[in-house]
Amino acid sequence: MKKIVRMVLVLTLLGLISGLALSLVSNYADPIIEENEKEATREAIYYVLKSADSYETEEVDGKVIYRALDSSGELVGYAFTASGGGYQGTIRLMVGVGPEVWKVKGIQILESSETPGLGGKIRGESFKSQFRDLVARGEIGLVKSGEPERGEIKAITGATISSKAVVKIINTELSRVRSILSTGGE
């Protein structure tokens, strides 16, 4: 009996000490982690919308949309995050669009675990730059070979699935943001 009491006592005590210590560390670390994330978002927004000087965060129909303004306070476009399945895991993107939402201004990869050297090239400038000022009145198209036409981008050689995933993620979220902005946002 004495043994059991001691077992329970030791375990409870250990659990308490560990819980207390961890809550202290987490109190210290959480605000810094949050700040890091905010900083990453900020950088991504300024990357996808080059002419932006400041932005406001608003939530419409459960979707967070960043309204970006230039130095004179003029609306230069919107930015929003989009995510979906890639070849290896989730891909998370920041997408910037013009004020009328028919032009993609730029994209940035926030998170991806695509194979380095193949699908990982979606992080590369040569892939991302295809989305700079891309006219996309309907959906963005993808070509595997040959020259992309207006509103199309070219897939990365050897990483068609990753390229396709990025385009699909953008198209899906783009149409959602369009309908949100045309009804409630503006």
């Binding site: 659990g15 560990s18 819980g19 961890l22 809550s23 560390v25 987490s26 979906g84 399945g85 890639g86 070849y87 290896q88 989730t90 699935i161 396709k164 995933a165 699909k168």
Partner: protein
């Protein structure tokens, strides 16, 4: 269909052992004979399925509900350790025959990183309850598959004349590398 793809992905294209390197210790340790490999696989699948079901509930209804996610690792590992203990006691009492076969593998499962890995991946991927259960079961089946294939190959290899420095660990790792290469052939089975 979604559920089916989760299963196929975790068994073949994103096999825990050959793709995520989880559960390598038992993979190297007990894959030298078929019977042991199979027993270990089944015991692990059992614990993994239960772990997925229980940790999902704990994570959703306790850790997230009370905002104490920083206790995640401590809680998960304790759940796994106690689960293994419970399964062991249950088997010993009610299914002594099964205990005879699986018993010796059970204590090793606590430190099998595939089990904790499973719980962590589940949270990261924000799976719902059913998805988690399928994920847990599939991860176990994938682990068993890798273990059994390896045991088969090592059975054949034991007859061969292997260069001295490669005997033991090195040759097993080399075979695992070739297996991983072979499993890459499955990629593309699961649409993104």
């Amino acid at each position: 269909m979604e559920y089916f793809f989760i299963f196929v992905a975790i068994v073949l294209t994103q096999n825990f052992v050959l793709h995520y390197f989880l559960g390598i210790c038992p993979f190297l340790g007990v894959s030298d004979e078929m019977e042991g490999a199979f027993g270990m696989g089944i015991a692990t699948t059992f614990v993994m399925t239960l772990t997925a079901i229980i940790t999902w509930n704990i994570n959703t209804f306790i850790l997230e509900a009370f905002n104490v996610e920083f206790l995640e690792y401590v809680t998960f590992i304790l759940v796994i350790a106690s689960l293994v203990q419970l399964v062991e006691m249950f088997l010993r009492k009610y299914l002594p025959e099964l205990y005879e076969t699986l018993g010796i593998y059970l204590p090793l499962i606590t430190t099998n990183c595939a089990v904790l890995g499973l719980a962590l991946f589940m949270v990261l991927r924000e799976y719902n309850f059913l998805e988690s259960a399928i994920f847990g079961f599939g991860a176990g089946i994938g682990f068993t598959l890798a273990l059994v294939i390896m045991a088969g190959i090592r059975g054949e290899l034991s007859e061969e004349d292997i260069p001295k420095p490669f005997r033991g660990t090195a040759i097993t790792l080399l075979v695992a590398g070739l297996l991983a290469l072979a499993f890459m052939g499955f990629s593309g089975l699961v649409p993104s």
